[in-house]
Symmetry: C2
Subunit: 318 residues, 2 copies
């Protein structure tokens, strides 16, 4: 599989075998109280319990474990200050190869420390997208490391699709799956996996209304980049990837947009009722399910993929 | 089994069969990060994921489901504003029998609403222990309901012991189990269950140093009641029960006392690393495990029973 062709269900199944030894098979949570409150039968895939606290470890592991020994020996590189940075750092450490993570000087020291804790080398740059890309390109030129894009890469998409594969194995047939959409890797992987396993399953994205490029793209029929995002969902600020867009436009029923207030309500429900810690981005699928804009009928069996649980307990949004 | 004889392992096994249809078999969580940080192999029994958010539902269900039809038809009664109140209310509703819960006028309205949400009748009283006992006695006299003590009752202890039974089934042989100790129902049930399944297993209580009657009782060799407790562990304020004391004195290796600061640290570790919401009382076993006062050696396989997860997200202790 190249990084630029769309992945298939076979790629996702191969990814699942490849990463089985290093990723957690995260549980699918049921919660009577949330079912009673929402009127749905919710099957909650807990990627906040994944290693590094986010689904990102699936895709990163798939890339790193899929490299030839020679390529892998030169290491990997990305620019990110989010969950992908930690995921790639840990995936590289698990294979015993070097990782360079380009981070803006403005990144919180706790995020830098987390990446360094996984043994990666942090390379600082100015806090602009241009500086990040230039710096990463320089690292790649200097080291021969493989640049690993956080979402617009078929191997990443295939890795992220393994979460939906497990969800459907554990929950059985579902009427719909809702996942967050930022760059679109998780949602695209989910679309390919779920539609192959259960044709006719309804596929829905959950997106903050302050970063709704995917919803606007779907409505316009063409990819519209995100500019000036404004939402507490710090994992969903980015623009939809090209590959992901190609998948979403052909598989997705709709995107439900949610306000930050709806996200905070959903976060509190998950913390207080399901006793599980999710980050704002991770709460968007529940927020979408209970939003008036959700097209699903009462009683529907819905899979929610909670994307991550990395929050600063000293800066909670309530 | 009467309510005043000590329960046996057979009573606990019977309780387990009796309540199997209504309680959740809660998961036993593993967390590499916590293992690496503590040097132990931790097997974390998640009673915060039990119905009503606490282990209390086990004992309450065992009492309610063990009653004759005639006794059950007259209902149950207790005085509590904590997790036992919700647990008994739900257990009664599941059997379709009435429940009267005596609560002080000072109880938070959210706790009253939770109990009423489970269909129980709340009977108000002045906020003194005497008023609570008198009011409950009056309810029992008026209705013929069975009074269900929150912890000093063999049927309650047998029900609480089912959590340790499940933990040992799922985790296999353990070197030690640590549970919180307040009234002592969970710890006494754990002692009876665990020592019967694995003779020689080390049994340890975790108690806040601001409500350390169990630790002082163990040291003195006689039951010392708790007066003037002062701790954020609101589930552990009460005095050790007579029956529980009889079990603990013969089974327990030690009680590790922990400060509120240690409890808060452990709570934050569980929230941020294991992504699971526990209340202060529920975090005491981890606080005890990582306390300098813990007698267990590095590498020990330790079962921690997290007792509950009912916290007010607007009043977090950090």
């Amino acid at each position: 599989m190249s990084e630029s062709a769309l992945p298939t269900i076979d790629d996702i199944r191969q990814a699942h075998e490849r990463i089985a030894g290093v990723v957690h098979r995260t549980p699918v949570l049921r919660c009577r109280t949330l079912d009673a409150m929402t009127g749905f039968e919710l099957h909650i895939k807990c990627e906040q319990l994944q290693r590094v606290g986010a689904f990102k470890y699936r895709g990163a592991s798939n890339v790193v474990l899929g490299m030839s020994d020679e390529d892998a020996s030169r290491g990997v590189c990305t620019h990110s200050s989010g969950n992908h940075a930690q995921a790639l750092a840990l995936a590289a450490r698990e294979r015993g190869v070097p990782a360079w993570i380009v981070m803006p000087t403005s990144a919180p020291s706790v995020k830098r420390a987390a990446v360094e804790g996984y043994g990666a080398t942090v390379v600082e740059c100015e806090p602009t997208l241009e500086a990040r890309e230039t710096t990463a390109a320089q690292v790649v030129a200097d080291t021969g490391a493989l640049f690993v894009h956080p979402y617009d890469d078929a191997r990443i998409i295939a890795g992220q699709g393994t979460a939906a594969l497990e969800l459907l194995e554990d929950a059985g047939e579902l009427d719909a799956i809702i996942t967050p959409v930022g760059g679109g890797g998780l949602l695209a992987g989910t679309c390919i996996a779920a539609s192959a396993v259960h044709s006719g399953i309804r596929l829905i994205g959950a997106e903050p209304d302050g970063a709704d490029d995917a919803a606007r793209s779907l409505q316009a029929g063409s990819l519209i980049p995100q500019t000036g995002p404004n939402t507490i969902c710090d994992g969903l600020l980015t623009s939809l990837g090209q590959l992901n867009w190609a998948v979403l436009r052909s598989h997705l029923e709709t995107i439900v947009t949610v306000s930050d207030a709806q996200v905070i309500d959903a976060m509190r429900l998950l913390w207080s009722r399901a006793k599980t810690v999710v980050e704002p981005s991770g709460a968007t699928p529940l927020a979408a399910a209970i939003s008036p804009g959700c097209p699903l009928e009462r009683g529907a069996r819905i899979g929610l993929i909670l994307s991550g649980g990395n929050v600063d307990l000293d800066r909670l949004p309530w």
